[in-house]
Symmetry: C2
Subunit: 276 residues, 2 copies
């Protein structure tokens, strides 16, 4: 089959590498709005050909949208004239708002997916081998899709080595919030706590593994994450509330010098790693 | 020289490996209160000999304390009869409270150090090669030490490949709070947020690199961290306040849908990595 990828940054670029590597695509076509990225994509040889949108729509059996979540929605009108055999897969980090807005005319072709993988980097140069292998992809609300499209999506994700999990889009957004969106907001908050200190350089000079891990995802793209926080706003506000409650518990135990209780609370946190 | 290490877990055990490997110590002696650890230390061959405390005090040119910060203070009376040529180095994560409590009789021999390295693991089996190489060690309030002791400490840390930074203990505790202690409390809080959810297993099944990084240090020892939060209590409370302010800023921008401001705030967080 021919695969057309719209957006060839970290996620799309790495997918282009994967579908080539596993021989899933005869041809990989790419489309991007960015002239700068176009140059990088060609230099990195990520796709067989960069084409315009109308060409990509015609020559692709599967179209993959790996662009920010608001941009996915903005593109919906461009797909209204798509062939009913063409599969469209979006790889956005939010699912409920996207699914709710898919035009009914393309609802059967449109697979809502979220590969649970990434790095803090972005752009075509961030594309890497093995981004998807061994990772989980969530597919949402498949009951609205035709089997031909579900099968194509399964085939692609399976053949690049992913574990497929099927879930309701509402449930996905709650889970993705706790496992990814909230941790990103916390990392941004920690980075800004240090950057707002009077001596950030002096503090950061002492950074070891713990801080590097805790601040790594604070390097992520503000543009991309702004859209995610917007689309998953209600879950974000709820999860922040629960996180604040936990932090507040800890703060009060320190304030009131209840260190035995604090140890018990930390033991509960330790227990996460019996599951993870 | 002969080096005696009290506490042979992650930090002490890894130090024993390092001083042997670089040929710094003729003999490495160990002391531990734990019968279980004693067995592991012997099996792992971490030291030349496990001895009792009085023997260790007599045969060691340098004594290293790699035990929880409250245990360091509890041991002070045991060192009052130490030879004035014997150097004592503590490797605790807090410094001001420890320095303040060093008995005047051993103040000149006692070097307050904090190697900025570690993992989330503990116990003798957590000891690894290369824990110290290329990392930073902070030495505090050296003006109170005799040069002979400062020189021995410098020699050891330099020869195992560490970068030495000298700092006031008060300043150390502020910086260590932001770069290490606060991030640990945040990681524990995030882990407990997920563990308090109704479906932690379902959420954690989707964990990828971001969550794994953000929750890794929530695996750390509650016993050890309880003592650190206690000894650095005031800085902890202040840093939590500043972190809460940042999180609150973000929460309100999401609540009030000020996404352009939120992007600017995330860009500021990104700038941390121009320094780090």
């Amino acid at each position: 089959m021919n695969i057309g990828i719209i957006g060839l940054g970290l996620m799309g670029g790495s997918l282009a590498k994967a579908v080539k590597r596993y021989g899933i695509a005869e041809k990989v076509y790419g489309f991007t709005n960015s002239e700068k990225n176009k140059k990088d994509i060609l230099e990195l040889n990520l796709v067989d050909e960069i084409v315009d949108l109308e060409t990509l729509k015609k020559v692709s059996d599967v179209i993959i949208l790996s662009i920010p979540v608001d941009a996915i929605i903005a593109m919906f009108p461009s797909f209204l004239d798509i062939d009913e055999k063409t599969t469209i897969i979006d790889m956005g980090s939010t699912k409920e708002y996207i699914v709710k807005n898919i035009p009914s005319k393309i609802r059967k072709n449109f697979i809502a997916a979220h590969p649970m993988t990434g790095t803090e980097k972005n752009g075509p140069k961030a594309a890497i081998d093995n981004l998807y292998e061994g990772k989980t992809v969530v597919l949402c609300d498949l009951e609205a899709n035709d089997n031909i499209h579900v099968n194509k999506a399964f085939r692609i994700f399976q053949e690049i080595g992913m574990r497929i999990v099927v879930m309701d889009s509402k449930e996905h957004d709650v889970n993705a919030c706790y496992i990814s969106h909230l941790p990103h907001l916390i990392s941004f908050s920690l980075a800004n706590t240090v950057m707002s200190h009077q001596n950030p350089k002096e503090i950061i000079a002492l950074a070891a593994g713990g801080f590097k891990d805790m601040s790594r995802i604070a390097k992520s793209s503000p543009r991309m994450w702004g859209d995610i926080f917007k689309q998953n706003r209600e879950n974000m506000l709820e999860s922040i509330k629960y996180f604040e409650e936990q932090l507040n518990l800890a703060k009060n135990m320190i304030k009131e010098e209840k260190y035995e209780e604090l140890e018990e609370w930390m033991k509960k946190a330790n227990s996460l790693h019996e599951i993870l």
